[in-house]
Symmetry: none
Subunit: 182 residues, 4 copies
DNA sequence: CGATAACCGAGACGGTACGTCCCGTCTTCTC
DNA sequence: GAGAAGACGGGACGTACCGTCTCGGTTATCG
């Protein structure tokens, strides 16, 4: 029953987005009772998130070829591709949006998705820092916000397009700095 | 009447957040009819945004002392201060959240707030680029995402704290790059 | 809209009885919103009663031919005919049943139906008492319970059948007493 | 287990009335499973009735002193006392109310309570009829409705109060008739 | 200056979804 | 192997807002 509900939730979410995502419609689609849903998920956002990640489970493994710049670029290009090439972008944006007024969803998103991702990235960065490639005084968490956070920014506040070139620029800018070399 | 409605909207928004922000409650608070509100605002998000900026109108002028790094740091520190020191942070986060499923609000936010801000920042950056301080191959819009976008990231997905040090790190990282100098 | 709702309520009540009488179904049948119903009726029983009497409005005028015994018999025979010959019997029984746990309905039933009926009967009886036909020490309200109340008893607790003969017996017993004349 | 369930049912019924009488709450109170209850009682009304009579078991034996009028008066006064002096009145009213839409309860009430009571009364009356005190053409079942039925009427449709005097009047009216003696 | 139009408050209305409660059935696990 | 524990689909409850829609009464403009 849990599986059926999650499946129905994912189907509804991908087909119609959070705007039409309703506990009643999920229950109907899943042939389940609303009570059953309320028993297991604290909010509709939490259900949407759970349904989304259970079926989609984007794996985006983090490459480590030794060339940090290439690895980061590859990862970010893939991330941008996911956000723009599939319906994942809209769904993630709507989930994050919902999370702003749904603490349960916010917590779930953090524990389930965003924290582990940050950690993966930090680990990869730390290896380069340990090998002396990156400066030792750099707070690697900040780096994450300047790369992936920048992508989320363009996803959520789409003033400017989210392109592969954007992903490449992010890495290049941050690696080499903006200042004209002396 | 417009003024009264905007005032009521702002009061409600600051007092209870988007979760309780309802056109009916705004109408009641303002002593206005719902029809009047619908006549002037296309969605509750647009009203919330309008109410917020009409009363708060954060001005955050962009300094230009000639020292780009200092100017950016000052600006970002002030921005972080706004987001964390007042109720503006929560309100902005909830507005952006709402905008994910409210196209009217998204457009309004873009035209009214985020685009002009980007442009101000880009102009300041361009002056430094023109003067040769910044590399000429840098896309300045990307820089905006790597500074302000990173702040929004920590606002909307608060895995990591949004501190003054974070703001300083953003500028330093990006200006000088992460790579260990040869 | 009130009229449409009352009509729908009456149709549902007569067609399916109180068991299926649901505010949601009335709303659906009437093409009305549940809120509209809740705005005007304090309970589903009150709505059922209102719907019932608005459309049925049993008039059962009280005859006064001068012959009390004949008048009472005629009235009671007609009453029994209404209770057994139409669907009114079941509906009234269910309304009274519902009223046992629905104070709003109980009050409505009393003011709207049962009190005026008692009064009509008492008036007719009083005329006979004034003319000396009935003993002056008789509490006429008690008489009502011994005639109509007895019918309700057989309606609500159907151990014994509710027949025309029963109606006739009620009047005869009470008029002449049970004791063997000396 | 049966005993525990009946006890819980009775406690709940007396404490909160039929409005809050729920199979789930009885199960919880009794520490029993709902299945167990459904195995033994066909409806919640049947359970309520069973619980009520198992613990209360009003005995109200029927006196026979040879003086019919005194016996009937004593019995009815006691009956009215039960209905008004204890919580039995409300419970019985609610049970009869529930029975209007619960056939299982209606049947149970009839077999368990109302039929035997009628029979007791009829037997007492028949003895007086056999002894020539009562007229032979009187249908004794009708008499029951004109005495006890009248009390139920005032219980279920409380337009007029249910008093000891009422009980006395019932007997006197019916015994002696209403007509002014010639 | 008085008629006439626009505007706006008030709030009713059909809807949709909410989150809760209880029904009657069922499975599971324990004693 | 009976029974507690409780999950489950179903359906109604009463509430909150949505966005649309009349109503009147008050302004404010124009004849």
């Amino acid at each position: 029953m849990r599986a059926g509900i999650l499946d129905a939730a994912a189907r509804l979410l991908l087909a119609e987005g959070m705007g039409s995502f309703t506990i009643e419609r999920v229950a109907e689609l899943a042939g389940a009772s609303k009570m059953t849903i309320y028993k297991w998920w604290p909010s509709k956002g939490a259900l949407a998130l759970d349904g989304y990640f259970t079926t989609v489970e984007a794996t985006l493994a983090f490459p480590d070829t030794g060339d940090l710049e290439a690895d980061l670029t590859a990862q970010l290009v893939a991330f941008v591709g996911l956000l723009t090439g599939t319906s994942a972008g809209r769904v993630i944006a709507e989930l994050i949006g919902q999370a702003q007024t749904d603490p349960e969803l916010a917590a779930a998103y953090r524990h389930r998705y965003s924290s582990p991702r940050r950690e993966l990235a930090v680990e990869r960065l730390r290896r380069s820092q340990d090998s002396g490639q990156l400066r030792h005084d750099v707070d690697l968490q900040v780096v994450v916000d300047q790369l992936w956070g920048a992508c989320y920014h363009r996803l959520l506040l789409p003033d400017q397009p989210l392109t592969e070139q954007f992903a490449r620029d992010l890495v290049h800018n941050l690696m080499h700095g903006l200042l004209t070399p002396p």
